[in-house]
């Protein structure tokens, strides 16, 4: 149980808090679809 708790805590520390309203940037490619996809 001790080891398990340590892993869980470490995992929590790895998470970087995102500011409210954060939108991840779109992947650089492929680009947006202008009409529709076939």
């Amino acid at each position: 149980p001790v080891a398990k708790r340590a892993v869980a805590e470490a995992a929590q520390h790895d998470k970087v808090p995102r500011p409210v309203g954060f939108v991840p940037p779109p992947p650089p490619c492929p680009g947006r679809i202008r009409y529709f996809e076939i």
Partner: protein, 248 residues
Amino acid sequence: APAAPPAPLGCDDPESEAAAEFAVNYINGHSHHGYKFALNRVDNIRVVPQGPNNDIILLELDLLETTCHILSPTPLVNCTVRSFTNHAVEGDCDVKLLKVDGKFSVLGSKCHSHADSAEDIVRVCPDCPLLLSLNNTDVLAAVTAALNDYNSQNPDGYLKLLEIGRATMQHLPSNSMSVEFAVAATNCTAAEAKAQVEACQLLPEDQSNFGFCTATRVIMPTEKLQVDCQLYGHQPGVTYSQPGQDTS
């Protein structure tokens, strides 16, 4: 320390869009058959620096067929992309551009087009028209009948077939075939063509001497043919239906 290399271009970056627009204009400007294509998506872009202000740009483009024939003077921006329900055609292009001091030139391009899957269209829209093969004998017969009808109703000139652009069949609300074809004006009247069609020569290769026709042949429940041709050098064309039928 050397400066960090610039971040790779994204497919939607303004510079990518400018390169793609240049490439699409080049592709349409160098095509002599079919329809104009519009940009649907930049699939990929890669920049290979050659020196200061000198790059090679490799583009992968996804295009869609418009309703404007390649000979039409309508600017691409005013052309309508053919809808999914009208059996869309996609073009995939690889283009190699050179950009020197902000100016593009094309080093090479390779495109191929393919129609959307008929099964996909039927799944979404069972009654939508589907593309037919251009060398289908019924298609050839419909185009010939349509052009003959148009020529017989316009005796001052005589149009020759340049190419068939597309043909579709729709079963509802009626059993009908629609065809689209490009035409060219000749130096003959209809009477001269009737006497000796081989003597009719195409007028000089000026855009105003080309035109585009659409025709619908209803097969069931009753036979009916409607033809509409527009010569690019003239005002919007006359629509003609067989005698006794509606004319618009």
